[in-house]
């Protein structure tokens, strides 16, 4: 064990020596936060980070349920996966699809858009549903090759629909109808509780709860695995040594950058170096992260249990109703760790964030108590 620890120490030192994060790259590394007003850095951060006016939707204004698990932007339409149906917002009105319409289950956990066809895929607590031109076709573990009815994640790439379920991943080829299952028998997956999936033409990533990140190479058909080098230890021995934690919840692969959310912090991986984000050394409001959406190689949004967080590669912004009194809050943390409160009048519907999608400059946020539309404001 001592030898292993030494090896980790050495590797950590080496990584720290060569990692771009250690060379002044625009990544926040400050270990402490200070509330500061008027510094040059904080002023720049304030200017750089987006501000929104949040309009919130609840059952009071048309949403079928306040528990919103997922949100999807589809052009001018917004899809919201709620605990009580799939709602679509179009022309300023909500319409809800239920099991009576063919939805696999009333609780919709995940959403994905096939940009080529316009079809929407919904992962539910009772199977996978395809919404196409108003028609819903559902796939369950009894009626199809779907591995399990609890579908936490779904992602569309080309003619394949990739699915994350409570019993492994699977892939539906929409052209042939063939299902291929991925589990502990044919992948390096230890646990089979897959929480999220992000599919691209080159790679497919699964966030496996308790088993890190699984990577599928579309060209070779081979699987690889990324785990927390500290194993099940809750202590991070060396910063940025690898994936922050085994219990991954969400994954987003964009511009060849892997963004990972876990219940114990978040990670960014560029194919060579890892960079981890914890509350103690970043602007994350909480290490308990439900969702991550990468914008590009440097920017990402994080949905935590203590608010919505944005990282622009250097600075952080957090948007949330106050955990103390529920009043709208926005805070900005610059690369030096200076935290600046920003006066705002609106905030997401709730601090517990479950899903995020972008609509141009606007943002849509699924929360535990409603769906929020963040309308970008000029600064």
């Amino acid at each position: 064990m001592k030898k292993l620890a030494m090896k980790k120490l050495w590797l950590g030192a080496m990584m720290a020596a060569v990692a771009p994060w250690a060379l002044g790259a625009p990544v926040a590394t400050a270990a402490s936060q200070t509330v500061a007003f008027g510094t040059q850095e904080s002023h720049a951060a304030l200017q750089a980070l987006p501000r929104f006016r949040f309009e919130n939707f609840t059952t009071a204004n048309g949403l079928p349920d306040n528990h919103v698990y997922a949100v999807l932007v589809d052009g001018d339409r917004i899809w919201a996966g709620t605990e009580n149906g799939l709602a679509v917002y179009e022309n300023h009105a909500w319409k809800t699809y239920t099991t009576a319409d063919g939805l696999a289950h009333r609780a919709v956990l995940s959403l994905a858009l096939d940009k080529r066809t316009g079809d929407v895929w919904a992962g539910t607590m009772g199977g996978l549903s395809r919404i196409s031109g108003g028609r819903i076709d559902s796939y369950t573990q009894l009626t199809s090759g779907l591995s399990n009815d609890v579908v936490y994640g779904v992602s569309v790439e080309g003619e394949n629909v990739w699915v994350a379920t409570a019993a492994g991943g699977c892939r539906l080829n929409t052209r042939t109808g063939q299902w291929t299952l991925y589990n502990e028998r044919n992948t390096p997956m230890v646990e089979i509780w897959t929480y999220g999936v992000s599919a691209t033409p080159t790679k497919v990533y699964y966030a496996v709860w308790g088993s890190g990140i699984l990577e599928y190479d579309q060209k070779t058909g081979r699987w690889d695995k990324y785990e927390d080098p500290d194993g099940e230890n809750e202590i991070v021995l060396f910063k940025d040594q690898g994936l922050i934690h085994e219990i991954t919840t969400s994954v987003s692969y964009v511009d060849n950058i892997l963004w990972v959310a876990t219940y114990f912090g978040d990670s960014r991986y560029d194919g060579r170096y890892w960079h981890n984000f914890l509350t103690k050394d970043s602007g994350l409001p909480s290490n308990f992260t439900n969702f991550v959406k990468g914008v590009d190689a440097t920017r990402a949004w994080f949905g935590t249990d203590k608010g919505l967080a944005y990282y622009d590669g250097a600075n952080w912004a957090v948007y949330t109703p106050s955990l103390k009194d529920g009043k709208p809050e926005m805070t900005v943390r610059d690369a030096q760790g200076n935290v600046t409160p920003v006066a705002v009048t609106t905030a997401p519907a709730h601090n517990y964030i479950l899903g995020i999608d972008l609509q141009g400059d606007d943002i849509w946020v699924a929360t535990a108590k409603g769906l929020s539309h963040g309308i970008r404001q000029q600064q």
Binding site: T99, G133, G134, R135, I136, D137, Q141, G145, T174, R185
Partner: protein, 638 residues
């Protein structure tokens, strides 16, 4: 000549005549079981017809001779025969008329024909069983309806590269573009899977749709729901785009088929949609004791005065007066989609003529001025030319081909006509669409409401799969097609021996469609190979020997996957008279959902995930989900 010589000569002549007659009739009375290959290929079998934009040419799609015949529209002389792919099913012209696209349903290709040179300039691969093709006005996209893959493929109209597949109705088959070019409309011949399971499992009315595609963006923007419809064929639009029509079958499968009075098996209908009618309307083409069986091709006069519909089983064209039809509809205001399918008095309000044409009339085309209607008589090798002013057949264009009717051809005509059905209501092809199946479960026999529900099996490659009927009661095709059909279905005229023999010849000759799940080299994918091992295994996963009768490969043995014996696989319902069921063949099993004798399994998976709790239908409950998927992947190759 002496009396003796005369007598001897007469005797010899009589004997010789009898011998010649016997020889001539030998194939008929002795129930020939194998059709001559050449016999199958001599006929043209025109399925569709098109008029060129300038009206100078007729293009005739000949399904059996697998060619497009180009005729001079005035003289009817053949300008050229252009060979295309296997079993072509649909074709259309580009907006400019310079290219003709042909959907080859067994090749899974599109033939592109240059209409200047009348040559095939390209052959493009598409999805499974392409059945119709249409291009947008701009010539950007080519839309192809694929019957087996249940989708509409979107191809680059210049290069043929496939850009995407759009989910369509099950058995997507016919396409039409709206007059303004903004929308593509797609129909399908098999009902969509039931979205929500009812308490009665397999006893749900079929649901279909018209899929509406944005022609520019090439995405589905709407699905017009069609309740209680199973089988929608050609569509047409009025020139102003305000009225759309589609030919449809409306099965009445939820009640016992105990009698056929008053159209008890099917309503043959026309679906109307668009601004002229508001919510969709279904109107019957039938009238009391006169039925318009199996509507297929449709056209609307350029001045929107009339609608023409071919009735393939009734061998006629039904003519509807549009103003009278609109009056009928608007006199019955409706805020929701409405059907008058059960009203056999309705058609008297708007049907103005029924024009007899040839065997199995299918596609139609109007001359650009609307003065003539061309009707492709598939099983007569003719084109009827109807003068639309006086609504009579002005002439009949005979396509080159055999002038005699072979037993096989006669059998096919018998299969596709409804003339033997009670009052001409139904024929074999009413349920066996294009000689396959209809994906509908039926309550066939007069044994009480809801008893012995049966799924409609496909007819492909039946030789060696006897007996027939789910309880195995019919030992051969003549019994299946003869007394059974006559008793339970037709309740009318029976076949004479020769006709029955020819029908049996035809049914036995029905070929096997290409299997789309097999690799071109006939090898199996790793998943299929694993599934094959499971299919053939003799031990379960715990090493316990599986009794022979409980192995997949025991009951589903032989090249067609049937031991031709009956077994109780634990699927008997309280409403079934017996649990002992004939082992169905596995030929192209992937295509013919639903499954089990009563269609209660909506998918192959459900056979084992829902309906095999005691492992009576093979030992499967030891399998993991991925192993079951492998087994199904193998079954799809059968």
């Amino acid at each position: 000549m002496s009396e003796r010589i005369r007598t001897r000569w007469c005797v010899e002549f009589a004997v010789l005549s009898a011998a010649l007659l016997t020889f001539a009739l030998w194939p008929v009375v002795n129930h020939p079981v194998r059709a001559d290959e050449s016999d199958m290929q001599d006929y043209a079998s025109p399925l569709e017809v098109l008029s060129s934009p300038d009206g100078a040419r007729l293009y005739v799609l000949c399904q059996q001779s697998e060619e497009v015949r180009v005729l001079d529209a005035a003289s009817h002389a053949v300008l050229k025969n252009i060979a295309v792919g296997r079993v072509p099913r649909g074709f259309s012209l580009s907006a400019a008329g310079d290219r003709l696209f042909v959907a080859n349903s067994w090749d899974d290709t599109i033939s592109v024909i240059d209409t200047q040179t009348l040559t095939v300039t390209a052959t493009w691969p598409v999805g499974a069983e392409p059945s119709s093709v249409v291009t947008d006005r701009a010539g950007k996209w080519l839309f192809v309806a694929n019957r087996i893959s249940n989708d509409v493929a979107v191809l680059n109209a210049q290069t043929g590269s496939e850009e995407r597949r759009l989910l369509a109705g099950r058995g997507a088959s016919y396409l039409a573009i709206s007059p303004d070019g903004s929308r593509i409309y797609a129909t399908h011949v098999y009902p969509n899977p039931a979205r929500v399971r009812s308490n009665l499992e397999n006893r749900t009315a079929p649901e279909s749709e018209i899929t509406v595609i944005d022609a520019e963006r090439a995405v589905v923007v709407e699905r017009i729901p069609l309740h209680a419809i199973a089988g929608v064929f050609h569509l047409a639009f009025s020139a102003d785009g305000r009225l759309g029509v589609a030919a449809a079958l409306h099965p009445k499968n939820l009640v016992p088929l105990a009698h056929l009075e008053h159209g008890a098996a099917f309503a043959d209908t026309l679906l109307l949609f668009g601004a002229d009618v508001g919510q969709p309307v279904e109107v019957p083409l039938d009238e009391l004791e006169r039925y318009a069986s199996r509507p297929f091709g449709v056209a609307i006069a350029p001045d929107k005065s009339r609608i023409y519909v071919t009735s393939s089983g009734s061998e006629m064209v039904t003519v509807l007066d549009v103003p009278r039809l609109m009056h009928f509809i608007h006199a019955r205001p409706h805020a929701q989609p409405v059907s008058f399918a059960r009203d056999l008095a309705a058609s008297a309000n708007y049907v103005v003529e029924r024009i007899a044409v040839g065997h199995d009339p299918r596609g139609v085309a109007l001359a650009s001025d609307g003065s003539r209607l061309f009707v492709a008589n598939r099983l007569e090798d003719t084109i009827s030319v109807i003068d639309t002013r006086d609504l009579r057949v002005a002439s009949t264009i005979a396509l080159a081909g055999p002038k005699t009717i072979s037993p096989l051809r006669h059998g096919e005509q018998t299969f596709y006509t409804s003339r033997y059905g009670f009052q001409g209501q139904i024929g074999c092809a009413s349920c066996h669409i294009d000689s396959t199946f209809d994906a509908v479960t039926w309550d066939l026999e007069p044994d009480g409401f809801g008893r012995d529900i049966v799924d409609n099996k496909s007819l492909e490659d039946l030789r060696g799969t006897e007996p027939f009927k789910w309880n195995g009661a019919n030992p051969n095709i003549p019994t299946e097609c003869g007394p059974r059909t006559e008793k339970y279905f037709w309740r009318s005229e029976n076949y004479d021996n020769a006709t029955l023999a020819d029908l049996a010849v035809y049914v036995r000759s029905l070929p096997l469609r290409p299997n789309r799940w097999r690799l071109p080299n006939h090898e199996l994918t790793p998943a299929q190979e694993r599934g094959k091992d499971l299919f053939e295994r003799a031990q379960d996963k715990f090493g316990v020997p599986i009794p022979e009768r409980n192995r997949c490969s025991y009951c589903h043995s032989g090249p067609k996957g049937t031991s031709q014996k009956s077994f109780d696989v634990g699927t008997r319902k309280p409403t079934d008279n017996t649990g002992l069921l004939d082992t169905p063949h596995l030929t192209n099993i992937a295509l013919s959902a639903p499954y089990l004798h009563d269609g209660s399994a909506r998918t192959l998976e459900e056979i084992w995930t829902v309906y095999n709790p005691e492992d009576k239908h093979g030992r499967t409950n030891d399998l993991t989900k991925d192993e079951l998927n492998d087994l199904i992947e193998y079954l799809r190759t059968r």
